[in-house]
């Protein structure tokens, strides 16, 4: 079975359409999965396709090429709504992993603990899927369908992650609890994206929680409850953070019990939203 490096996306899609193929980008998930054996199917290496590496924007939003490395996300000049994604990028494995691993790879691996997912959910990211038949866009929440399960057809490849524009003063944040400082799988994590109106009240809030359900989830109830609140009101509020976690269904495993995960999620939601608010400051309102 061959190791295939297409020269163009067109070539890649044509190859995908005609044979049983595994796509390799950064390799950080795929290479260890081979288990010291030659791949039993053709590998298609998309990491050299420059059209898949670029991060750019137009009037509709930002397009992060599927094969962009996490290090490239970290170094990109992005608006503050991406701050949460950048914080998550620094937590994805280690420097070594960030230098290889790609944004789309993190999504396609579909781990419930994928650090990249909550911030992209909070950003209302869409996944761009391409095949010889054309392009379809899927909200990220629909793309990941379960633990290690994604809605990717046999002839498709993720070509980009699309993030619509957010208000200029929208600030993202990301927090993760693990049992050590670096290179750690999270017990729970939260990403938030918040913007304010001129009265310093929350005009929009997106909050996503990871590692507390099969798929990382947004908390629509909390997001609605946050609207109109100020930093000071929220800092004092003891109830709002715990009242909207019903959608989560954390498991108990070696890293923590389900009950503990809910406690942590609640606290991280509070801290993340407040941190987002704080970083907006008062001048941008």
């Amino acid at each position: 079975m061959g190791y295939n490096v297409p020269n163009s996306l067109t070539d890649a899609l044509a190859f995908l359409a005609q044979s049983d193929v595994k796509i390799i980008a950064g390799g950080t998930d795929l290479v260890p999965s081979l288990g010291d054996q030659a791949a039993k199917v053709n590998l298609l290496d998309v990491s050299r396709l420059t059209e898949l590496r670029t991060i750019r924007h137009d009037k509709t939003g930002w397009r992060i090429g599927a094969a962009a490395r996490w290090t490239e996300v970290l170094k990109a000049d992005l608006p503050t709504c991406f701050d949460g994604l950048k914080l998550a990028a620094r937590e994805i494995g280690s420097r070594q992993i960030q230098n290889s691993g790609t944004v789309a790879g993190n999504l396609c691996n579909a781990s419930p603990a994928a650090d990249g997912v909550p911030p992209l959910l909070a950003l209302n990211a869409q996944v761009e899927l391409s095949s010889v038949n054309g392009v379809r866009m899927l909200p990220l929440a629909d793309f990941i369908t379960g633990v290690r399960e994604i809605d990717l057809r046999g002839n498709e490849i993720v070509t980009a992650v699309f993030v619509p524009h957010h208000p200029q003063n929208a600030h993202g944040h990301f927090l993760k609890l693990g049992a050590r400082k670096y290179l750690v799988i999270s017990i729970a994590m939260v990403s938030s994206l918040v913007w304010k109106d001129s009265q310093q009240r929350i005009a929009g809030a997106h909050v996503a929680v990871g590692s507390c359900s099969a798929i990382a989830l947004r908390l629509p109830g909390l997001e609605a409850a946050l609207l109109g609140m100020t930093y000071d009101e929220l800092a004092k509020d003891t109830r709002i953070w715990g009242e909207h976690l019903d959608v989560l269904s954390p498991i108990s495993d070696i890293r923590g019990s389900g009950e503990f995960r809910l406690d942590v999620a609640q606290e991280l939601c509070k801290r993340s939203v407040l941190a987002s608010l704080k970083s907006i400051g008062f001048s941008n309102g």
Binding site: G27, G93, R95, Q96, S100
Partner: protein, 918 residues
């Protein structure tokens, strides 16, 4: 689609040179570099991106070679440590600062550390400490505690000339490791770096169940019909006894289980074959049947009346016990004004050295040679004598560099498998454990369940101490008896306690064998004792540190074993050395917490102390070391240094002691390492005995050699020696004499002067109440730690340590600091994050060890209270360094948030549950 398939070969730049190589589709770059391109400076620790040892630069960016497909390097530049050291100024600076700071101990993580650091310093010429910590976050080190590595990177970033002074290496000087250069320039040969590419590979067939019966089909027919398979090894291939164990009376472990496996991961057979075939070989295709049997994996289940017995003759699954009694604990506890008691538990702890076990064996002319990582080469040979039923002259153990041991590499692992493979096939064979295989099958720290009651009178004196502990010793004895014996001797801690009872039991379960791990059970018992001491001090209303000082054992006081040391007892000095930091930190903590409460912040600080002691060497058993040295005609002084250096620094310390005793600069010595054919037995690297026991042998050997030289001219003790090519000049009170080496008879090894001396520490047996003289010396330690607790998340971060250690005499203070910092890192891991669960945490992302961001700065205070038995007063240190760490952290957690944690690891979940239940 033509032009898009990378067919063989793949071409890229390797360390500046164009290379082309074959690689199968998706082959790991680490495999290609090591096995196809000979780049063995790229180390493999996990093959999963969890340890970073295999870090290389691809187009300048550090990546894990184990997660990179070789084809991804097509047309790019790949740099490894050896290439960088040859070409890159930053890398060269790092090799110097790593040596100056003692940043490489065993050296297995060093290539990954330096390569990663080069990338950082190319991008950021003046990084902050935090930035270095973050950059190195993906490379695990199990020896150093990271701080010296971080210091070395920071120093390399400074644009000033590095001074490396010439040194004589006298006792007390912080010289660089003598074996350090190879560790930083990529040339060190670890256990997987010996076998030539293409060597036949051995793979073990391991039990998938904790307890199972099995039977084989026709293995001969299987070998005959499977091209590339050379042999299958089973118990039937063991020519001697299919049994080994480090303690002869308890030897119970088979090389290959015969009909039943007793733990998940136990070897039942091994397959030898062509390396390409073995890599892809489906182990399930071996003709054999498994039947899972009921298992007991906890002490309570194993002690139940209907529990299956693991070994005949060990009723109730009790392997053995230990007992120490003095005075009357029951009466004293009744008399006490205050008592405290508690139950404590700890889990399996994995050694998690970054080098998985590997080895290479040859069989030629009736002699088998085993090149493998080990802490105890002569014990390995003794085990192989029994397994093979052969004369020792037919067995040679040639240890490789050891990429971390911490106790687990005292036991044999793959040695018999590769020896039998080489013998059966008549060809050289190699074997490399996968990370999972290493974690499943090698020894662990004993899980413990301890109940303890301690009393005190109102004047603050301990009054009664009653300890009972069970230790899950797993399927086989290994060092379990040592743990059972050591714990009751040490459970008092370094305190004067006259009414004492301590009982321990080692219990067999269907778990991996528990064996030796830094401290042999003492870290577990210290958690119970030192945290209850804090509770007792609180009840008494006495400062926790003053309470310890008040009860600290002193010269001429009796230990709980009735042993009286008239000198050298240094615990009080250690505790007193913490007083300044204790008072300062208590004030800091109080101020911080007041402000924190005021601000409504969930963060609290806490400060904790704990102490520990550890008897150096075997418990009431002989454990001699021999050091041999010779002078050649050309004036070379050759030191046969058989104490395995597993990173701790024996090669340097033993050489410093010898050189001092002989009276020559250490730089004049040529070291010959452990090798059972040419270097005498310096015993095992274990029980904090090498500096003490082998150090004494080195001192005696150096002195003996010096006497032989001086005697020739009846020169005085104060004479100075100058050894050069062909002669020794003796300069004695203005008189000079010259010994002409060229005229002296040369022995079979090429020496004209030879000395060989043995030291065995004086001990006396323990009676049925554990009374006697178990050790010739103890070492002492006290740690202070400040922690930050997040009371809403349950997370704990250590902010700084102060560690006081009485080492008698610091032969090499830099290495002392290295031991202290590395031990603290392991103690912190045990306290906060490490628990091995068979079947569940068999890799380095589910089993967590501290990273560069988890170990704070450590202020090491070296106390030198010399011991009469120690070489130049030196005491052992290797285990002492982690004994106080975990209880100090637990005490600090209580200080921060008023909850007593009585189990480790105190993960965020454990702490939050305790906080919620408060």
């Amino acid at each position: 689609m033509d032009k898009t398939v990378i067919q063989h070969p793949v071409a890229f730049k390797l360390n500046g040179a164009d290379v082309t190589t074959h690689a199968w589709s998706g082959e790991r770059l680490s495999e290609t570099l090591r096995e196809r391109l000979g780049q063995r400076d790229v180390k493999i620790g996990c093959s999963a991106g969890d340890c970073g040892a295999c870090t290389v630069l691809v187009d300048g960016a550090p990546v894990c070679a184990c997660l990179t497909a070789t084809q991804q390097a097509q047309g790019l530049s790949v740099e490894t440590l050896i290439g960088l050291v040859n070409n890159d100024r930053t890398a060269i600076r790092l090799t110097n600062t790593f040596q100056n700071k003692g940043a490489a101990q065993c050296g297995i993580c060093t290539p990954g550390m330096i390569v990663t650091s080069v990338a950082l310093l190319r991008e950021n010429h003046a990084p902050t400490t935090k930035q270095v910590e973050e950059a190195l976050g993906g490379v695990l080190c199990r020896c150093t505690g990271y701080r010296k590595i971080i210091d070395a990177v920071l120093e390399a970033a400074q644009d000033q000339d590095l001074i490396h002074e010439k040194y004589t290496g006298e006792v007390g000087s912080s010289i660089r490791r003598l074996d350090g250069l190879a560790k930083v320039n990529g040339c060190e040969k670890f256990s997987d770096d010996i076998a030539p590419p293409g060597t036949l590979t051995v793979r073990a067939v391991r039990s998938p169940f904790a307890h199972a019966a099995f039977s084989f089909g026709d293995l001969d027919a299987f070998v005959a019909r499977t091209p590339g398979i050379e042999a299958v090894l089973t118990a039937a291939d063991v020519p001697g006894k299919n049994c080994f164990g480090v303690i002869p009376n308890f030897a119970d472990q088979p090389v290959f289980a015969e009909t039943e496996s007793r733990f998940r991961g136990e070897a039942v057979a091994a397959i030898v074959g062509d390396p390409d075939l073995m890599r892809t070989f489906d182990m399930a295709s071996l003709p054999m049947e498994w039947t899972e049997l009921p298992s007991v994996q906890t002490v309570s289940k194993a002690m139940a009346t209907d529990a299956p017995l693991l070994h005949d003759g060990r009723a109730g699954n009790v392997m053995c016990g230990g007992f120490v009694k003095c005075g009357d604990a029951d009466v004293a506890l009744k008399r006490a004004d205050f008592t405290v008691k508690g139950s404590f538990r700890s889990g399996f702890v994995e050694h998690a050295y970054i080098e998985p076990e590997a080895g290479y064996a040859t069989f030629e002319d009736g002699k088998v040679e085993i090149h493998a990582c080990t802490q105890a080469p002569v014990m390995d040979r003794e085990a192989m004598e029994i397994i093979l039923g052969w004369d020792p002259s037919k067995i040679r153990i040639i240890p490789t560099a050891v990429g971390g041991g911490f106790g687990s590499k005292l036991d044999i692992s793959l040695q018999p498998l590769i020896a039998l493979g080489a013998i059966k096939t008549g060809k050289p064979v190699r074997m490399t454990y996968s990370r999972t295989e290493s974690m499943q099958s090698t020894t662990k720290r004993h899980p413990s369940e301890i109940s303890l009651e301690i009393g005190a009178t109102s004047d603050g004196r301990i009054c009664g101490f009653d300890f009972y502990g069970t230790f899950n010793t797993g399927a086989y004895a290994s060092w379990g008896p040592t743990v059972a014996n050591r714990v009751p001797v040490h459970a008092s801690g370094p305190y004067s306690i006259s009414d004492y009872r301590a009982e321990s039991k080692g219990i067999h379960t269907h778990c991996p064998p528990s064996g030796a791990f830094r401290g042999f059970g003492v870290p577990q018992s210290a958690i119970a004792q030192e945290t209850l001491f804090d509770e007792l001090a609180e009840k008494l209303g006495i400062d926790a540190l003053e309470f310890r000082i008040l009860n600290a054992i002193q010269d001429n006081e009796s230990t709980v074993c009735g042993q009286v040391f008239t000198q050298g007892v240094g615990i009080k000095a250690c505790l007193e050395a913490l007083q300044t930091a204790w008072h300062r930190e208590r004030a800091n903590v109080e101020a911080f917490n007041n402000a924190s409460v005021e601000a409504g912040s969930p963060t609290r600080l806490g400060v904790g102390v704990a102490a520990g002691w550890y008897g150096c060497g075997n418990t009431s058993l002989p454990n001699p070391s021999t050091i041999k040295a010779g002078i050649r005609i050309d004036g070379t002084v050759v030191l046969h240094q058989g104490a395995m250096d597993v990173g701790q620094g024996a090669d340097t310390v033993i050489a410093q002691i010898f050189a001092q005793a002989l009276g020559v600069p250490v730089s004049q010595l040529e070291l010959v390492g452990a090798d059972t054919d040419i270097t005498p037995d310096a015993g095992k690297t274990s029980a904090s005995r090498q500096t003490f026991v082998t150090g004494n042998a080195a001192k005696l050997s150096g002195q003996s050699m010096r006497r032989q030289i001086l005697k020739r001219y009846n020169a005085s003790e104060h004479a100075t020696l100058t050894i050069s090519a062909g002669e020794i000049e003796i300069s004695d009170q203005n008189q000079n004499h010259t010994i002409d080496l060229r005229n002296m008879p040369v022995d079979s090894e090429g020496y004209v002067i030879l000395s060989s001396e043995t030291y065995d520490p004086p001990t006396k047996p323990l009676d049925e109440n554990g009374q006697g003289e178990p050790y010739a010396q103890f070492g002492y330690a006290a740690h202070l730690v400040v922690v930050e607790v997040d009371t809403k998340l349950g997370s704990v971060k250590a902010l700084r340590f102060t560690a006081a250690h009485d080492v008698g005499r610091a032969i090499n203070p830099l290495l002392v600091e290295g031991q202290v910092q590395g031990g603290i890192a392991q103690g912190l891991g045990m306290a906060l994050m490490e628990e091995y669960l068979p079947g569940r945490t068999e890799n380095l992302h589910d089993y967590l060890i501290p990273t560069s961001g988890d170990i704070p700065s450590i202020d090491t205070i070296i106390i030198e209270n010399p011991d009469i038995h120690g070489p130049y007063g030196a005491k052992g240190l290797g285990e002492h360094v982690l004994i106080p760490t975990a209880p100090a952290i637990l005490n600090a957690i209580y200080d921060a948030c008023s909850v007593r944690i009585r189990q480790v690891p105190a993960t965020p979940n454990v702490l939050m549950s305790a906080l919620k239940g408060k």
